[in-house]
Subunit: 349 residues, 2 copies
């Protein structure tokens, strides 16, 4: 008998969604960006590969110095307030490892990103969830929350709304532990809690390159937090966690804000157009501040719509969760993809 | 006050060695490979970047299916016995998370890879070390070792010898928990404990692409173990831990065994030549089965040699540890680099 820890032996493990391998699908199920990354990213990776990949034989910069510097300048922080990561998932994982030991509690909003629970299970930490009120505030959040970490996904996935900064401030004040604002989708809206990191020592903001920067395939994320938090995360991460190509990709992507803004503007336009059109055919669509929408079909039988779209090789996201099964999460693709999807949905009726 | 876990707040954090940024150094301090990776690796990465990096916008294969398949075929296991990783460091980390909870004990040989201790500290696990006898066996290893994991670096770093498989079998029998054979350097010798994974359910073998495959910059490793262990590690790893470019690099590197063997043969030749030459100028050199040698200068004052080499822009590794400070660990570079180094050492005297 292998002496596996009980929490590991008993946990189910996170199962990523269905990813079709053959071509011909319109893939609107993983909130990927329909546009390629900035050409500067491709240039930077190609440059790092020069001379027969000679650089690849050498260890990368363990401190991600350049990428941290560029991030710090972009958001107006000292580099000691910034850490890069192998996807924001690495940060969520290591934040739990930094603050929540076995038996300690972390919490998050349900519905949001259920991976927080999987990460807590790995650690042997306890998980608490808070629901949402009708006006998208947190139901029954205590005046003083004693858990080690509270994860707030803003914009919320899959519902698409954002928490405003005044509300986030009240949460930070009520949290004895860390308030992680998971801003994976924030580039698709105008607000951000980033400036609150200056004001509240317990706020940590995480970002990903997987959505707005079109780099899901490169596994990149970052966090902005107090130097004490950054320094703890630096102790916990694998010392060479980011490969050379990911590092230069991160720097190049951050440096091409013009490309980011142009890509994001296209997606926002398509989102707003698609939301309005769905409304015209009887769907109830949550106003979205992300690169997806959450929409309920006229008959609230979203599984039927999911299946009918699937048979047309259009892949969207259906959740069997009772709080979500009335709707579908649909990633915003290109205008053309969304026109095809809209026509299919109109036809399905 | 931020509620950091006590073990995290108190730990020092692992400090990687000095990495000179300006050119002109002969860098023999990190056991990097002096040769570039296989041209097939560069081709595979370039192909994955086609069409303006279009693939990078999409998530990678969470299961690393192709790389696992190729590994399985190479070593003669079913793919369910294989896991890929973001450097073998990720595996060492996740093995601790799988088997050793807070307060549980892990152990390793001192001297070997001290990063095991840092990883255990992060977890809040206890660390025990075992010394070596004069004939390179483990001193005072109990008939029954109850710790959760015993890490055995073979070939040993920095001393360069390997444990033979008969001896590893006796260790596996004495270990109640997992015996991790860390074969980071095994491609530079002829033996391997890989076949023992079939025989002992508690043996896990880890490998890295950083040394023999010249891919330190890409952060790749793998492990072969029972499916129960692989499945536990699959639960613990970030679900998208490897980026698309690392994945295709791993597959291409594994598929070009001819290149691996040719590169390794050159390094072994240079190592054996360099060891013999050092002997002629009075150094005591441990017979090495890795891509470095551990050598003691005639006056046993290795810090003096280190400094004199440093002033000539030749960087080797000196350890202040009382068990190691009589010697230097010198990575085997190209023949030309080692000729320069030998001449410098002869001159330093």
């Amino acid at each position: 008998m292998l002496p596996l820890r009980k929490n590991i032996a008993e946990m189910a493990g996170y199962v990523p969604g269905f990813q079709p391998e053959e071509p011909g699908w319109i893939k609107l199920n993983s909130n990927e960006n329909p546009y390629p990354p900035s050409p500067k990213v491709v240039e930077a990776i190609t440059a790092e590969m020069a001379n027969g990949g000679e650089n690849l034989r050498k260890y990368p910069d363990a401190a991600s110095k350049e990428a941290r510097q560029v991030t710090a300048e972009l958001y107006g922080f000292d580099p000691s307030w910034v850490i890069m990561a192998n996807g924001s998932d690495e940060l969520l994982n290591n934040l739990i490892r930094a603050f929540a030991g076995e038996g300690d509690e972390i919490a998050y909003v349900h519905p949001s990103y259920s991976y927080y629970a999987a990460l807590a299970e790995i650690q042997g930490a306890k998980v608490r969830t808070f629901g949402l009120t009708k006006d998208f505030q947190i139901a029954d959040f205590p005046d003083r929350y004693d858990g080690k970490i509270f994860f707030l996904t803003s914009p919320n996935a899959p519902l698409g709304f954002s928490f405003d900064n005044n509300y986030i401030e009240t949460l930070a004040e009520r949290c004895v532990g860390i308030l992680v604002v998971d801003e994976a989708y924030v580039d698709f809206t105008d607000a951000s809690a980033m400036e609150l990191v200056n004001k509240y020592e317990n706020i940590v903001v995480t970002r990903t390159f997987s959505k707005s920067y079109s780099l899901a395939g490169m596994r990149l994320g970052l966090a902005v937090a107090r130097p004490e938090v950054v320094s703890a995360l630096d102790k916990i991460r694998d010392h060479y966690h980011l490969d050379r190509l990911a590092l230069v990709a991160a720097t190049a992507a951050l440096q091409d804000q013009a490309y980011l803004l142009a890509t994001v503007a296209k997606i926002r336009d398509t989102r707003d157009w698609f939301s309005a059109e769905l409304g015209k055919i009887g769907y109830r669509v949550n106003p979205s501040q992300a690169n997806y929408i959450f929409a309920e079909s006229p008959d609230s039988n979203s599984k039927r719509i999911y299946d009918a779209l699937f048979s047309r090789k259009i892949l969207v996201r259906y959740f069997s969760d009772p709080l979500l099964r009335h709707g579908l999460r649909i990633t915003i693709g290109t205008r053309e993809e969304m026109e095809t999807t809209l026509a299919a949905m109109a036809e399905i009726g």
